[in-house]
């Protein structure tokens, strides 16, 4: 299982904090987006338009990264911390 986490406006769009997908031992982010687009096409579009950064296990990765069973994937809208 991989976990996908939603933050800020993405959480509002998704209507949830996180969801889980069973995509085998190893898969690509593209296949994760494919899985998300089944129920959340709006979010898949934002990813394709590169309006979202992606972190795997707390580090930002490129959109062609490979992910593994047990990984935590986070979809991160532009940050606005620091005042």
């Amino acid at each position: 299982m991989i976990t996908v986490k939603y933050f800020a406006n993405l959480k509002q769009i998704a209507g949830k904090d996180e969801e889980r997908f069973d995509l085998g031992k190893e898969t690509t982010l593209d296949q994760v987006w494919e899985a998300i687009s089944q129920t959340l096409p709006q979010i898949a579009t934002l990813i394709k338009e590169k309006k979202i950064m992606v972190a795997v296990n707390y580090d930002v990765v490129s959109l062609d990264a490979v992910v593994h069973d047990g990984d935590e994937i986070a979809l991160l809208p532009p940050f606005s911390g620091g005042s």
Partner: protein, 145 residues
């Protein structure tokens, strides 16, 4: 109020005392000659709109990890004695403290450079989001460089 002695990078709901955080940093060395502090606070207006409510959310674990990376890189790259970063989450009142960065060095020049770099780096790399409620409604703010 969570104590300054807990950790040199923290994300917390509670307010912090600038004096206590500085006094804690002073314990790092008897050779600190310059300390620069950046304190971000809640403004009443945003792009001309009056703010009714201000809220911060973060990605736990990743946000703390990024702050720790900023601290380590800042100390190494600028030759600091020490650095600390505290960011608040949850509801913030107008005028309240939001973020505190303290850089300590033997001399002042490196502490100014490092402090300014650290707040830019925080905005760029740390998963924290601001939600502003104004008369026009509620918006998740996009990063401002």
């Amino acid at each position: 109020m969570r104590s300054a002695t807990e950790s040199k990078v923290r994300i917390q709901k509670e307010d912090f005392s600038v004096t206590d955080e500085i006094e804690f940093m002073k314990k790092s060395s008897r050779n600190i000659g310059g300390i620069t502090v950046f304190l971000g606070t809640g403004r009443e207006t945003s792009k001309g709109e009056k703010i009714a409510d201000l809220n911060f959310e973060h990605y736990p674990q990743m946000a703390e990890k990024k702050l720790a990376e900023i601290r380590e890189k800042g100390i190494a790259d600028f030759g600091l004695i020490d650095m600390s970063i505290v960011h608040r989450i949850g509801h913030i009142d107008i005028g309240d403290n939001i973020v505190l960065i303290i850089t300590c060095g033997e001399h002042r020049q490196e502490t100014f450079k490092a402090c300014e770099w650290a707040i830019s780096e925080l905005k760029r790399t740390t998963p924290i989001w601001k939600r502003e409620t104004t008369t026009k409604g509620e918006v998740w703010v996009q990063a401002t460089p």
